[in-house]
Assembly symmetry: C2
Homo-oligomer: 351 residues x 2
């Protein structure tokens, strides 16, 4: 079947928006997922796996129960309603693994991809046109869904070629959180004391490694973990100079602990990688005046952070975790290439 | 009546939290507003005016109607329930004007205030213990409430002495948004192209002035306004190099306009001072790669900003508007001292 191609697509994919008119694909309620035709600045992808965002997958399981068929039906319902896997409750998406099926004419000169290349999308499924023919399998432990489906990436959409030196599922797990270590690389300077909250989690470990590499021997990396198991396995990894067991929603205890540990100096940089609410104030209080707090956690509340800092008169720069930074995929993949221990841990947990 | 004084208060006011235990006064549901006794690191304030946060005041008016007595009753209900003027729907507070009635023993050496000084609180009412004896008057046009009341400021709470060279209500209006121009002063560098969204508003004007002063003659300040009236009065002020009429919720038009105006270079710094939702994407798109987007607007959504930047592959630093920066009150008051035009405009609108 020959593919119909339309000219003059918008680089951000605005041409696919059905409603409301005038917005971009991410905030749109519904986008056009007719993938029997593409625009000449789009990439058509043959999709094998969806990696549903953890918050979204959890919400779906809570709503319909643990039954695979019901989860499948819910995913199909969302995609047929919205033209994309954009969970209406959590607002989040996920990413996909697939094979390039067609490269739009206009992209041929600049885009390094060719038909048959295996890629991972690095933009959220919440803005990616998706048409599912069939859901083959739901892997509840890893939030993965095996599908027969097609999707489209826009001119400005991000993706990464799947590396050949590791299993696809390992690459996917690393790339899912690749914005965090790349931002860490930009923020942490030689000699900095850095606190990583949730340092034993998927993104936290990569951040801890990257922070240690940037801060160097004169720096100090303090990993905060919540569970005993998390503390033990983080200590075993030996990346952090100190591992402390703290509840990041208990701001006062966090402050006291880090204050004692640093002789009242507090930390230069705080990296928040937790997956729970109400950790803004602890993050702010553990940071020194004029330090930087980087919120990677999607559970961060803008107003709680802004009013929290003002409320205690703390002059810190608070940064919203941008999922994209130049070179983010390479920086993150490099961590598991450098550290065998992290690679093994990731393989045990996420592959 | 002699004032009972308790020792060993927490600098952040944790000793006043009633529930839930362990949190700080801002996130607390209820705090202790018994002001017949204070801790020895507190300031006791005789309160004359409350300046209710605009979002909170609007919500109350919508809920109970425009009737003064009903507004009074609602305010009293919130304060008696929570021990502070912390609107349960909007989560926001406001600020107060009052006279220092007592300075806790422990503060006497370090705190520059003495009994009788007139001050404005620069921390939110959403964390300030408040006991209202009587509401004397509700000024609906300026969100001000005249009261007979007492309040307490904590050791780490921010405040400013009321300046003697301007009316109190003018100072109050300026200090309400003083975090924004102070952050602008830190972010805007010589030669920068800066877009200020909502440049004609209360905070926007101060930011525009401060941006111009920092960017200098080689810089360029582009003011974005929504209404025709707003555009006209901003142009009349003559602070901005360009004034453009745009709807900041229409990301694509904002992008096209600023791209044309800057020959595709886009802006180095974006300052978002609007009071409406869904302006994250426009802010991000008007900014050049590696530029800075500063969100002062409390209507900013963390996830919309984080996913929005990732969705279009834009490598920008996004900063959460901290209401506090060192020197913020002085920087903001200085603007109305330097610019007679801004002072006149403020006096017309807010005094
Ligand atoms: N900005 C973006 O582009 C982007 C992309 C992907 C993910 N994210 C966000 O990043 C966050 C982290 O993701 P992830 O995949 O790294 O999550 P994860 O693997 O589940 O890790 C979460 C970590 O938080 C710790 N934690 C949980 N509760 C805690 C508490 N009360 N105090 C201290 N630590 C606590 C956990 O410790 P224990 O294991 O000991 O409980 C764990 O180490 C999520 O909020 C996610 O939404 C953002
Ligand atoms: N972070 C903090 O500590 C803090 C403290 C105080 C206030 N704030 C926040 O700062 C924000 C601004 O406060 P303010 O007192 O300066 O508000 P304001 O005086 O009401 O100004 C709002 C401005 O936004 C403009 N605007 C409205 N809709 C627009 C649209 N669709 N497109 C472009 N511009 C639009 C308005 O233009 P027109 O007049 O032409 O409609 C006006 O210039 C609020 O969100 C407030 O919550 C934050």
């Amino acid at each position: 079947m020959s593919l119909e191609v339309i000219k003059n697509g918008n680089p951000f994919g605005a041409h696919r928006v059905v409603e409301p008119k005038g917005v971009l694909p991410q905030p749109a309620r519904k986008i056009d997922n007719n993938l029997n035709r593409i625009w000449d600045n789009e990439l058509l992808i043959d999709v094998q796996f969806l990696n549903i965002d953890s918050a979204s997958f959890t919400q779906i399981k809570t709503e319909v129960g643990a039954d695979d068929d019901k989860i499948k039906a819910k995913i199909l319902e969302i995609v047929s309603d919205r033209g994309k896997m954009h969970n209406p409750v959590t607002g989040s998406g996920g990413m996909l693994i697939g094979t390039v099926q067609a490269v739009g004419e206009k992209l041929k000169e600049t885009c390094p991809l060719k038909e048959g290349d295996r890629i991972v999308s690095l933009v959220s499924l919440s803005l990616t046109p998706l048409a599912i023919e069939e859901i083959l399998e739901v892997k509840k432990e890893t939030d993965q869904v095996k599908v027969k489906a097609k999707a489209v990436l826009f001119e400005n959409s991000l993706y990464a070629k799947l590396p050949e030196d590791m299993p696809e599922t390992l690459a996917l797990a690393v790339l899912d959180v690749c914005g965090a270590p790349a931002q860490t690389a930009r923020l942490v300077k030689q000699g900095d004391t850095t606190v990583i909250i949730g340092a034993g989690g998927k993104s936290g470990i990569l951040c801890a490694w990257e922070a240690k590499r940037r801060a160097g021997v004169t720096g100090r990396i303090i990993g905060v973990e919540y569970s005993d198991a998390g503390v033990a396995s983080l200590e075993a990894l030996g990346i952090c100079d100190d591992v402390v067991k703290l509840d990041a929603s208990d701001a006062l205890t966090c402050y006291d602990t880090i204050s004692t540990l640093t002789d009242g100096k507090l930390a230069d940089v705080i990296i928040n990688c937790v997956n729970i609410e109400n950790t803004e104030l602890a993050s702010i209080m553990m940071c020194r005046d004029k330090g930087v707090v980087y919120f990677f956690s999607m559970a961060t509340s803008f107003t709680k952070a802004a009013l929290g800092a003002e409320g205690i008169g703390k002059d810190v720069d608070m940064i919203i975790g941008n999922g994209y930074t130049a070179g983010h995929a390479e920086i993150a993949l490099n961590v598991v290439r450098e550290s065998n221990d992290i690679r093994e841990m990731y393989e045990k947990l996420y592959v």
